[in-house]
């Protein structure tokens, strides 16, 4: 870790925007055309599966079972959604939980991580190496599921609490290091020195100089944190048994788990059958409708962050 602090390598100013008007070094028309065709195909491959899921979710169950998944519903039907929203409280509730966890988690984690990253980005801070390593080490080593569960349920008593969904992702070592590198490489030390001479406190410097200059990386981190929080189901699986604290992903995942349960745990399935228990799963169209509901908002969050993150990642990733 120590060498990265004193050993800058890339003599590049990454913030420099590419201006490319009629560049003589531009690729030929033919190559450009081929690239375009290629990317259209690739884009189709990325987007079409989602369309398929959407199409199926609006199809008639019988058509799907008999004729298979089709991009154009043979009979348009809202049955799947009607079934899903018949009792809409769990879904609305789950959305509330997901949104709360995502928003609070993202904001908190960006604050915590940038607060941590700033001191260790400062070369004059004597313990920066210790704290860098303290953070980096967590990338390499973990205690495993059971101890982790023990700490959360017993030491912290967070079972069924929304904090159990937020805390696990609050500080990601990888992102801390990226933010640190960004601070280090893009914030001119001269600026900090000048502010200090003007009598600004470190806290003010951080708040009014460092943070505003770091929007790109912060937005990038925020985006990824949003993703992590929105897409998480594992923490819910571990810690949540209360219906009102279930997130959207978990609502969806629960079904998947129940389906998988049968194939993973045959003897239990036989045991249940022998007992007279009921194992019943949603139909195929309903499964797809659930997927649509689960994907929903995250797609819309994307453009909001997108304009920042090229810049953010550039600098951060150059030196992890």
């Amino acid at each position: 870790m120590s060498s990265s602090a004193t050993n800058p390598t890339l003599g590049v100013d990454p913030l420099k925007k590419a201006k490319r008007e009629r560049n003589p070094n531009e690729i030929g028309k033919k190559a450009n055309f081929l690239i375009n065709v290629f990317f259209w195909l690739y884009t189709a491959a990325c987007v079409l599966p989602l369309f398929l899921v959407i199409a199926v979710s609006f199809s008639n169950e019988r058509d799907v079972v008999v004729d298979g998944y089709k991009f154009i519903p043979q009979t348009f039907s809202l049955d799947a959604y009607r079934f899903l929203f018949e009792d809409w409280t769990p879904i609305v509730n789950a959305y509330g939980v997901s949104i709360f966890v995502t928003v609070v988690g993202t904001i908190l984690s960006v604050i915590l991580m940038s607060l941590y990253a700033y001191p260790i980005s400062r070369d004059d801070f004597p313990h920066k190496n210790f704290f860098s390593f303290f953070c980096f080490f967590t990338l390499l080593f973990n205690g495993g599921l059971v101890p982790f569960y023990l700490v959360y349920t017993q030491t912290l008593d967070l079972k069924n609490s929304l904090w159990a969904l937020i805390m696990p992702y609050l500080v990601g070592a990888f992102w801390v290091l990226i933010i640190r590198t960004f601070f280090k490489t893009t914030i001119p030390v001269a600026l900090l020195e000048a502010a200090k001479i003007d009598g600004a406190s470190e806290f003010r410097i951080f708040g009014s100089i460092v943070l505003p200059l770091s929007m790109p990386v912060l937005a990038t981190v925020a985006l990824f944190q949003t993703l992590v929080y929105w897409n998480d189901w594992f923490m819910s699986l571990l810690y949540i048994t209360k219906d009102t604290n279930v997130s959207v992903q978990f609502l969806m995942y629960k079904t998947m788990l129940n389906i998988q349960f049968l194939s993973t745990n045959t003897q239990a399935a036989a045991g249940i059958a022998a007992g007279g228990g009921i194992l019943s799963f949603p139909t195929e169209t309903v499964r797809m409708a659930m997927a649509v509901v689960g994907v929903g908002p995250i797609i819309f969050a994307y453009p909001f962050f997108q304009r920042f993150f090229i810049q953010g990642l550039t600098v951060g990733a150059v030196k992890g």
């Binding site: 990265s4 890339l10 100013d13 070094n25 491959a45 030491t155 998947m256 453009p303």
Partner: protein, 321 residues
């Protein structure tokens, strides 16, 4: 970069002369800033690390974790001593090697293509589309997989294969196809992320290099190989080392959810993660799962150190620590 040297110059040798408490007094605000995240790290990351002792114990609840008898390395045996153990290790490493290569090669190729595209508006559009799968949780991706691969009515079996006049294939039953399906899905899902990272680096390169190369009459290909790739090396190193550190880990979503944990596919899909999970379900033995976690951590740790060491030997500038 010059600014950094200036900082270093500003503080010559101070580090060693200032006593600890004076440092604390001078930088107290920094400690305050470090505090919240440190607390989280301690609680979330460090405290559970003591759980590694579980790996060496035969835990019974009457004696509690601390009081249970030590059994040495017994819990680790199942990871090494059987044929299945060899098979899961092979699968895990082989898939990860393939993933690392694909994530590197394809991502750089795509990033360069994006960079060369004439119409930047479309480039942005395609890039967004490519990033879309990265946004989907594996739960959703598994549903997508089912929509395509499902036995009788999946899209491939009900539409594509009949069109090509090929017999239906029972995808979730034939292990031979999965060494191709899994890398495709993994690439499909994650490539957008890697492309953005490499593209971000490429966009940042100084245009003068390319202009000079053009004057010397270098072709696009030569420019790519002689300028772009070398300049990308630091990013490539960081990304690759990080992935090498995870080479003993497998994406549970991909290998458990996407394969629907179908036993018939185990030959080519069973990896350490799913094996451990499966064992945990059957045996309910937390010692065995802890042993697996520790094993993965240690191997990852060593691999990161070793690969970093190798890189440090070859090109000290590119080592990450």
């Amino acid at each position: 970069m010059a600014t950094q040297d200036a900082t270093a110059a500003l503080q010559p040798g101070k580090r060693r002369t200032i006593p600890f408490f004076r440092t604390v007094r001078k930088y107290w605000i920094f400690y305050v800033m470090l505090l919240p995240a440190s607390i989280v790290l301690i609680l979330h990351n460090y405290l559970p690390m003591f759980g590694v002792i579980i790996a060496f114990k035969n835990v019974n609840y009457a004696d509690g974790i601390w009081g249970s008898p030590w059994i040495g390395l017994d819990n680790f045996k199942y990871l090494f001593s059987t044929d299945t153990a060899w098979q899961i290790t092979r699968n895990t490493i082989a898939y990860n090697v393939v993933f690392i290569i694909l994530n590197l090669g394809i991502a750089i190729g795509l990033a360069i293509m994006f960079h060369e595209m004439r119409n930047k508006g479309w480039a942005k559009f395609h890039q967004s589309a490519m990033f879309l799968p990265y946004f989907l949780s594996f739960v959703v991706v598994a549903y997508l997989g089912m929509a395509f691969l499902q036995g009788e009515n999946g899209f491939i079996n009900s539409t594509i294969l009949p069109m090509l006049g090929i017999e239906k294939i029972n995808w979730y039953f034939e292990p031979d196809y999965w060494p191709y399906i899994l890398p495709v899905v993994n690439t499909w899902k994650n490539i957008g992320y890697f492309v953005v990272i490499y593209l971000a680096a490429i966009v940042g390169f100084d245009k003068e290099y390319y202009e000079a190369a053009l004057i010397d009459g270098a072709s696009k290909w030569q420019q790519t190989m002689k300028i772009t790739v070398p300049l990308l090396t630091p990013v490539i190193v960081v990304m690759t080392i990080l992935q090498i550190g995870r080479i003993f880990y497998a994406d549970f979503g991909l290998f458990f959810q996407f394969t629907r944990n179908q036993g018939a596919l185990y030959d080519t899909t069973l990896v350490i993660e799913t094996y451990v999970y499966q064992t945990f379900l059957a045996m309910g033995d937390i010692g065995m799962s802890s042993a697996a976690g520790l094993y993965q951590s240690i191997v990852g740790f060593i691999l990161v150190l070793v690969s970093n060491l190798v890189i440090r030997k070859i090109s000290p500038d590119n080592a990450i620590f």
